[in-house]
Symmetry: D2
Subunit: 467 residues, 4 copies
């Protein structure tokens, strides 16, 4: 299989990446962007990464789930690899396989109705990715313009990625997708629709994949303030992921990489099914990520000497409940999958309940860690002060707790990074919005929920009492 | 197997039951208590109640769980039977088997350490119960007196059930257990300790079982206000369970029914293990019970014509999340059991997280249903008014909603019962306190939680940053 | 001024009251209804009830507020009288004066626009009530039928009280109002619209007052289960209020008691202004009512011996915060009144924030008390058991805590009544729905809120950064 | 009175300030620290800043409150000045006067008991500050070391500021105070104890004031990441405050500036009274600060085109309730002051309820703004990208919403700063911990609360029912 080095060297392929207003010529060499490249590269060193699939060796991420066992295994792989990456999700093959699985199911249905041959294209693309052990970014969320209007109603039609030309050999697409994770260090950029479409929105019902170096594809990376804006950061300097504003400036896609092109009736199904797979992925990695907060809270409580205080225990419970609710969600979703077109889909109800829980409770996790740590995480001297010999001893002397200053300060730096820094702000936003907004998820969850069992129980009581 | 009629006729055995200040001579004939007897009797009509266990037919409740499959099945049986009983738990063999399983595990350990033969007694008792297909009540919670004092420190030593005499043929016990569910209609009353004990508390470390008609055993049933105090009740008139203050007025227990008698070191383990089994039972039945609220909210929303209102959807989501979190807890607990002495124990972490969730969120379920239903559930005319022909038509005329008055009033009666009646008050209390207090559960959960994985992840980051 | 006896004897006036399917001929003599009559009668014994108003002696409730001082005084009177009635609101002159004040303001505006003379009628009615020291019920909430339809769109037009005939000497009204508090023991029944109306709804824009004994007026009282359905109740047997379904079966109202008759543009303003006054009243009485829960929690914690436990302190804080937030709301609303037509209106923002707080947090107050008290409040023996000499001593023996059984049982009876009885269910509903639904209040609050100060602060920062 | 320029030029006084590991020789000229200096300087331009006090002109902050009117005025001044500083508190004379008022009250009591003359010293210090119109920082929170140990039990006695020498002409103090706001740009550093002390802790019961340039006083300023680590920040570049680790390296204080020196019995009273005054200040400024979130949420909702969505309204309500609860707290605290030693103290109950509300709900304010704004605030291109002409137009094109890209991006930059940046992390911590921890506040609030009114109401009901 592919090595870390092969992956890193492949990134120097002329892709059009911008960072802080400058074109980046080799992301793997860039002072900041190399961190996300190295983070993705860790994939290739992961233990238990390769599994057997019908005789072939294949990345565990790309193994198509066929039942509960496969899904439980997928949960475990994502959880374990996140743990191996210091609590930071490694999206490199996870989100792409989420999209491929969704495409496999939906393309089979489209083909059946329209006589198209999308499914075969998807299958070949999967083989290509698997054989070459590629990383993928998935770009779903369009920039959307005026949220009250459908794609075809926007004053500027480019607010959703769309087909601007259909050619003999393929399609030309234009538009932009927001917050595509790790796009600047991925091999392939997979694109799928962000919502259900109507007939008028036909040209916006488009799914495809292109190499990151494709002409016309531009990626503007967000500023990595958690590294450049926090000199005391410990974690982000080692592991973080970036997002890009991903612009398709009349990008050509050959037909064999086009997976939907106008079949608007299926755009919603594809968007939702990808969301279900990806939310299952999300609850899995976030459960591991929560350990950062849990471990930090437990250790800083001891460093402060307050580990036995009742309110500290309450804080620890808040964090561990958050983590374990996510695990319960993943276990239950894996345990009761839907099987569709031969693919095991994580139970959407349990997946979405877990997803909503993480969206709406992460800010309490942050609050709990802050509560345990104390205000010092926001007012402590800088890393540069610690390096000044005139100041260092004073700082260590005065910042001791129940443990020596050196130890406690090191811990406080990490807690600051988690709970009182630009990383905190970034995470608060990501944990609320990534994988779909809370409002949309609530509406979807309720719409899909079968209320009949409950209603029938009540109707039965009403009937009995009439008798 | 035993029939409903055999069970009901067996209740006329001279047991000492009090209801509203009067001795009840035959609970199955009593105007009110017969409802809980008939409710328990439904057990004997349940579909899929009998399973094979090593060639023998046995009640599904009494089948000792050996792995995930058995626990998932147990969850399903409890959920389904609750549904068949209109959302009201049928405890008749559930709580007793929870206690037996805990006794099986703990007695094996006691025997191993002390050379006793409790395990064999427990096994024989299990065979006896299984062969005769008996119902059981389990009495755990002592009346406790001053909560700041241990059993042996109480001014009146009878505040915890204790051994007052050890005889050649058995022991004599005294004390009282609070809120024993369905005791007055059970065949056997199983007793286990309520907490960990110290050497001084030796005489309080006692577990045993006696028939409900045993001399000296007195049961005072709580007033069933949900039937007698709400003339418009629909559900409680058909299904409810009662609790008793269960007094052991120097009750003799022969040795073959004594399962612990002084082994204080194991009192805590037994109390906790029973709690784990019983909390797994609790999240299972409560998930079904939640359907009462979910179905009622959905139907009354339609009757009011507000089913599409955003806040109504939020209310439905609150209730369905409550229900499904409980199911997630049960599925996850079954999926990752502990195996001890050959018995599969539901994962205590997931069981307890589910238990805490139901304790602390049930009042929001009630609030959500009230919010959907409207104030009319607390101010509507009485059942007697509906029976007065002069008033009935006026009431139906004016209480119509988006559906006719007759239908809506019938529904409102049930919603009142669920959310604005003495049943509501009773349930709010039960859902918070049954199966152990919130505070105790929180402390236990945190004490048993392994924080090492989380702490190690943080230590690893700290180590890296030193290098 | 009027005496308690004069009030009680006046109730025997032929009013058409139904209770549990029977016509009640004298509410003051009826076994159950007399309790609400005696409760209302307590008004006439209240200390500091009479104040000077321009030389005249007048009930403090009827004094028209002209500034902060009057409103603070009104808050204090309502709080103190609720306290004197054991935490139960005494609505007898409170809600009626809330309506009169609203009518005073709105009628002045209607007169100014339409040349009508409603204001003078309102003023005379106020004089009449004041001189005769009358009690009033205010009927606002129509039964509403299909909630998605306006009054004039209902399939049965009687779903909102309406003018069915306009005569030379007055109007004839038909319809029904839901949950009119203390109507069966009030002197006057004041009617005002429940919502904004459109031109099509003209006939539903009606306000008036009639004596409770007016022909065609029928009142069906809700069942008082908190007395009849809970034999151990202590509080409700002494103080409670009832609600009625109040039916106007073609009731004639002479012009001098008609305060709005078709001026649909002002129906919403009147509904809202009454709501503001009445919500100010509500936060005032509920602050006192909260003391029932606070005192009970504090005393039962001591009786259980757990007053120093951290979670008990958290429970007490929840309850006291609830109480004091309501007081803060009243103090702030009084401190920053709107003056309109010479009348001081409690600040609607602070009033409504307090109102929303009580709606949405009362269930947590109940939960907190339950948490402190323990499960015994729902499973304790009945009052009848306590009266049986055979059982009494056993019960007192075993229900002792850190205090003797007699004391603790007495306290537990009250806690049961507050937190685990039909009264609990009734209150949970009332605290959520009385004085308008949560959803309507939220929408109104946001609509009326002036966001400009906040928006301007942000625009200023944006402007600065452009410079 | 003093001018802005006089204040700024006075800062060049040799004070020992460190920033990012370097000694800062003139804070008013330092690239970053000048921002907090200029922020403080805004004080001198404030409208209505000067009031009459007994014929003298005096800064409104220094006017000793004598009743409700003064406190309401103080609330208004703080609120208005915060608004004038773009929602950022201007602490320059606020916290110092909070400390002086507390010292005035407590010193009078100490003098009365011990015959000391602290009160006169405090009065003269107040005159000095008032006449010279000085700014002050107040250093209260000691670094504390092991939180389980009292000051005199610490392994290193310097964990709480203490008297190391008592000389004829004054005292010498050693130790460090954490997070002293605006210390590096203040004229005077006021020191008061952080907690109650016992006899053993006598040397830690110390209060005094010294000029910021006093020998031995070292101030290490926290890194201002909200400016240096977020290139798109709009607000922090104009207004922010800093905190210092404030080290007393054997600092001499002459007797006339010593306000407590060993009177350990009063240390707790002084700490608490200062906290009460300062929390009143805090709820006042935070109410204005909340406008940043409210205005930003309202404007970004419009820019996104979602201002009418139900969940957006819910978010706005969350933020406005937060703001207005704080105002209710301040108004109520001002309205019911305690008068002690002639000084009006804001009602501690209402002050502390407001303080606890802001501690425990600020994270929901942040979450609400994030919910309205969308994930783009964490993934948008950097300020540097916006300055690159090649990228700018693309970015504005694709980041338009219901309003043009230029406008929306400007707004998103501010929202990012508020809700998804290092400022967010800093504020989350500050809002939870500033002015005392949640746990300590809860315990204090409950300890001081008079439960008797509530208990008596319950006892009365119990008594009635016995009769």
């Amino acid at each position: 299989m592919r090595s870390k080095e092969q992956y890193l060297s492949s990134l120097s392929d002329g892709r059009e990446v911008y960072y802080r207003g400058k074109r980046v010529h080799n992301v793997a060499d860039h002072q900041v962007l190399r961190i996300s490249a190295l983070h993705s590269a860790k994939l290739y060193d992961m233990k238990d990464r390769i599994v057997k699939d019908g005789g072939e060796e294949i990345s565990a991420y790309l193994k198509v789930p066929r039942g509960s066992g496969d899904l439980l295994q997928r949960h475990k792989v994502i959880y374990d690899h996140t743990t191996a990456c210091n609590g930071i999700f490694n999206i490199s093959q996870a989100i792409g396989s989420d999209a491929i699985f969704a495409l496999m199911v939906v393309s089979a249905k489209v083909d059946r109705e329209t006589g198209s041959s999308y499914h075969e294209r998807v299958r070949r693309f999967w083989e290509y990715v698997a054989k070459n052990d590629l990383t993928m970014a998935t770009a779903q969320t369009d920039v959307k313009g005026d949220r009250t209007k459908r794609p075809s109603q926007q004053s500027d039609l480019d607010m959703y990625v769309r087909i601007v030309e259909r050619r003999q050999d393929g399609i030309v697409v234009r538009g932009a997708k927001a917050h595509t994770t790790q796009a600047a260090v991925a091999d392939e950029i997979l694109v799928i629709p962000t919502r259900a479409m109507t007939q008028e929105d036909k040209d916006f019902a488009v799914a495809f994949s292109v190499p990151a170096s494709t002409k016309g594809l531009k990626m503007i990376v967000r500023p990595i303030d958690e590294v450049e804006g926090n000199s005391s950061s410990l974690l982000s300097k080692v592991d973080h992921e970036h997002e890009t504003l991903t612009i398709f400036d009349d990008v050509f896609v050959p037909w064999d990489r086009v997976f939907m092109a106008g079949e608007y009736k299926y755009a919603g199904a594809l968007a939702n099914l990808f969301a279900t797979f990806h939310r299952f992925t999300a609850v899995s990695y976030r459960a591991s990520m929560a350990n950062l907060f849990l471990g930090a809270a437990s250790l800083v409580a001891k460093a402060n000497g307050i580990q036995d205080a009742r309110h500290v225990k309450e804080d620890l419970l808040t964090i561990l409940s958050y983590k374990e609710f996510l695990r319960m969600s993943a276990i239950s979703a894996a345990n009761e999958p839907l099987i569709d077109e031969g693919v095991a889909i994580p139970n959407p109800l349990y997946t979405n309940l877990g997803k909503l829980y993480t969206n709406t409770h992460f800010h309490e996790v942050v609050k709990s860690l802050i509560d345990v740590a104390g205000g010092i995480i926001s007012t402590m001297p800088s890393e540069e002060d610690l390096r000044n010999p005139e100041e260092r001893d004073m700082i260590f002397k005065y910042l001791r707790g129940a443990e020596p200053g050196q130890r406690r300060v090191q811990l406080l730096k990490l807690v600051k990074e988690l709970a009182s820094s630009s990383l905190t702000g970034y995470w608060l936003t990501m944990m609320l919005h990534a994988e779909g907004s809370v409002e949309a998820s609530k509406i979807a969850l309720l719409r899909e929920y079968d209320l009949r069992e409950a209603e029938e129980m009540v109707e039965k009581i009403l009937d009995q009492s009439k008798g």
